[in-house]
């Protein structure tokens, strides 16, 4: 027994480190869990990209679930995500709100003109102040907000067709049942 003790200790360590490696292949260790899930979305009032005189606010969006997708023309990963949103955005069954993050309006408009516009509306947060309230720390990030204005889901990084099928669609179906 006492002679096999070092071996047992070694195997325990191998198991522990192996688990660590496995865990990090399954999870992005850089992903910051949002404390906002299940809480009311922060109040916001942001201008439309195409018509800065018109403001969109949290209260104007109440009543039906919607998906907010944080993007920017300078964001490389958003370019990866874009074709997925172009293909699937219209089939989600909820309005897709583009959230143009820390971007020059001309750049964002040119980017959407070049790659296509999957969004129902695009709001612009050039200073990035509201994004701090949402806990945004990069792009793309997406928030699913329900009819009562609660954040129900956050996805960090680009949407893939798999993530949309596995995580987003079931939740949207659930939210639409809840919606008044």
């Amino acid at each position: 027994m006492s002679r096999s003790l070092p071996l047992i200790g070694f195997l325990l360590l191998v198991g522990l480190f192996g688990f660590g490696i496995w865990w990090n292949t399954q999870h992005d260790p850089r992903e910051v869990p949002s404390p906002l899930i299940g809480k009311p979305a922060p109040e916001f009032s942001l201008p439309l990209l195409d018509d800065p005189a018109r403001m969109v606010s949290k209260s104007s969006m109440l009543g039906k679930p919607y998906l907010v997708n944080v993007f920017a023309s300078w964001c490389v990963a958003c370019g990866e995500e874009h074709p997925v949103l172009m293909a699937e955005g219209r089939t989600l069954g909820v309005p897709l709100v583009g959230y143009d993050y820390k971007d020059a309006p001309e750049d964002a408009k040119a980017w959407l003109a070049r790659h296509g516009n999957p969004y129902d509306i695009v709001i612009a947060d050039q200073p990035g102040r509201t994004a701090i309230d949402f806990g945004v720390y990069g792009a793309p990030e997406s928030f699913l907000i329900d009819a009562r204005g609660m954040i129900r889901y956050k996805h960090i990084g680009p949407f893939t067709p798999e993530v949309i099928e596995r995580e987003l669609r079931p939740l949207i179906a659930q939210l639409k049942q809840e919606a008044p």
Partner: protein, 137 residues
Amino acid sequence: MAQAHAQAIDPLPFKDHAQEIRFQNLTRQLRCLVCQNENLADSNADLARDLRHEVFGLMQQGKTDDQIKQYLVDRYSDFVLYDPPVKPSTWLLWFGPALFLLMGAAVVLVTIRRRSRATRIDSRLVDNATIEQGDDW
């Protein structure tokens, strides 16, 4: 040096030197979300600059350090704190090392006990042998 550096990239209108020191101390305890191995004071990331301005603004509003930290934790979770708070989900993190130390100590203790018992038995055997055999040898 770090202070001079942060000043150079990001001059902020501090009221006095004490406030500047407080700002530097506070931002050094907060993690940059973009480049996660840097603190807010040292990071050049765009978001880090925005958050420094946010911290500065909250200080001007008279918020305490704890209130400012809570403001950021509400948005970015405990992740922004370099010192994670002690709570059930972080117990393993905080007390894990002590646990390992205790486990190690237990192993050492058991080994020592077992060895000394073995020695005692050995010496008793030797004593008996000595008695049986007398002092002949």
